[in-house]
């Protein structure tokens, strides 16, 4: 099945291409095929595919990527609205939380 798409133009992912050294790790770790490596540089090819997991940010050795990473559980977000804490998904089980 082709990629299921979520809302448009909400993702906080940013790439500073000037810093990129073309190691390719962002493309390897991204589970949503957001990056492409071409001419020894990373390119964002499918911004709206990003689910803000933060894998690319942590693995970029030169800090060229930023994203506001977090959990997408509705219940976690409601909890954070009520308590003012950061959303935290209490997912002890389940395949994907």
């Amino acid at each position: 099945m082709a990629h299921q798409k979520y809302l448009k133009n909400v993702v906080t992912l940013k790439l500073e291409q000037e810093k990129c050294v073309g190691c390719g790790l962002c493309a390897i770790v991204c589970p949503r095929a957001v990056f492409k490596i071409e001419d020894d540089l990373a390119w964002i090819t499918a911004l709206d595919n990003c689910m803000e997991c933060g894998a690319c940010v942590g693995n970029c050795p030169v800090g060229a990527i930023t994203v506001h990473a977090g959990v997408g559980c509705a219940s976690a977000i409601i909890h954070s609205w009520l308590t003012g804490d950061e959303p935290s998904c209490d997912c002890g089980g389940g395949g994907n939380c």
Partner: protein, 394 residues
């Protein structure tokens, strides 16, 4: 070494021995004679200790430079299977862990790969089952019994824990290479370059699904693009629906209780029979909304119009409400009919929105945006439905 050498000195097999003919010459295959005669088998280590449970998936022990390491089965036994089903229904989900440490699959040596895993038993089971005929080490790190993806998001499956375990379990004495195979979905918690700095091991990201590991190793530790993607198949979604309902069980219970109490309110102040009949039917319709949102919506997800989950839940809720209304309430357009429509749709929309947490493509920014619009609408619909429903009692 021959069987008899292994079994006995002098080289005569004890009569009545239960040694299988042509058994491979391992200590395990040396069986003492059944009766009377003195056994000449080397002593076998007994790993049972008082107060400790020897897990059913450990089938053997392997002598290594860092001590004896448990060898785990490649196949799942009945206990493993039962645990998997129970987990899906939320039974004992907070304690489903294996002890952190190093495990062996098959007969790995100093060249064998080291696979990193979370100590969530479901992940561990999938991993050992997926290895095919590969001999490998599994380094299970402590994620408090939480799966790789969630633990990586929280940082418990992360750089520091990997470095700590590599050092604690003396991995450098066990293997000669400097390579750790980390599941790709652990990447949100792991920084490969920092692991390298911290313990001098290179992180190689494996495929998303453990089932692809044999192919990954065949292609020289290269994953195809398809192996790097998460998908969200019909089966994935169906498996997750019980999780959804069990997450909501507390809310379901209190809502049902409130509906029973409110159902009894009417012109005679409070009537128990009205509580049961009106409250009971409100619970039933509420539950159908839940099924529409938490079960039907996930199954039909790709085919329902709209991108927001709350919107997708509206379609299934409306469909169920119209079906229910048509069969139960002949006078279409009545007050109670409108209340039913609003209630079922709002609940379905809310339950569907909760599924964003289980889906594998929503972003937190998107979910938050969706919720800011959807929750007020759902609340208004529920309040109106409740008002209409109470009003019909008088």
């Amino acid at each position: 070494m021959t069987e008899t050498e292994n079994c006995c000195t002098p080289k005569v097999a004890p009569t009545d021995s239960c040694c299988p003919v042509n058994a491979p010459d391992t200590v395990q295959n040396c069986c003492p004679p059944k009766s009377g005669k003195q056994s000449c088998c080397p002593p076998v280590a007994d790993h049972r200790k008082p107060e400790y449970k020897l897990e059913g998936f450990i089938e053997n022990w392997l002598d290594t430079p860092i001590g004896e390491i448990p060898v785990v089965a490649r196949k799942l036994n009945r206990v493993d299977q039962f645990g998997r089903i129970a987990m899906r229904w939320g039974i004992g989900r907070n304690h489903y862990a294996v002890a952190p440490g190093i495990y062996a699959v098959g007969t790995p040596d100093a060249e064998a790969e080291v696979l990193i895993s979370a100590n969530y038993k479901l992940s561990f089971d999938v991993l050992r089952r997926s290895l095919g005929s590969i001999n490998a080490w599994i380094l299970v790190i402590d994620t408090k019994g939480i799966n790789v993806w969630c633990a990586a998001g929280k940082g418990t499956f992360g750089t520091d824990e990997i470095i700590r375990c590599v050092k604690k379990f003396h991995l450098t004495k066990l293997v000669t290479h400097r390579r750790l195979i980390v599941p790709q979905l652990g990447a949100p918690g792991v920084a490969a370059h920092l692991v390298k700095n911290g313990c001098d091991f290179n992180v190689v990201y494996g495929p998303v699904r453990a089932q692809d590991l044999p192919a990954f190793f065949t292609y020289n530790r290269q994953a195809t693009p398809a192996m790097r993607r998460v998908n969200f198949t019909l089966l994935d979604r169906i498996v997750l629906t019980p999780v959804e309902i069990t997450i909501l069980y507390r809310q379901i219970f209190y809502t049902a209780l409130a509906l029973l109490l409110l159902g009894g309110i009417g012109s005679q102040v409070f009537s128990t029979s009205a509580a049961l009949i009106r409250g009971g039917s409100a619970i039933a319709t509420g539950f159908s909304g839940l099924v529409a949102g938490a079960v039907i919506t996930p199954v039909l997800l790709p085919w329902l119009p709209g991108r927001a989950f709350s919107l997708k839940g509206i379609w299934t809720g409306l469909a169920i409400a119209i079906l229910l209304g048509g069969s139960l309430l002949p006078d279409a357009g009545s007050t109670i009919h409108i209340a039913l429509l609003l209630q079922v749709t709002a609940i379905s929309s809310y339950a569907a929105m909760n599924f964003t947490g289980s889906s594998t493509y929503t972003s937190p920014s998107g979910v938050e945006k969706e919720m800011r619009i959807a929750i007020p609408c759902q609340l208004i619909a529920v309040v109106i439905a409740l008002g209409l429903w109470l009003w019909t009692a008088f």
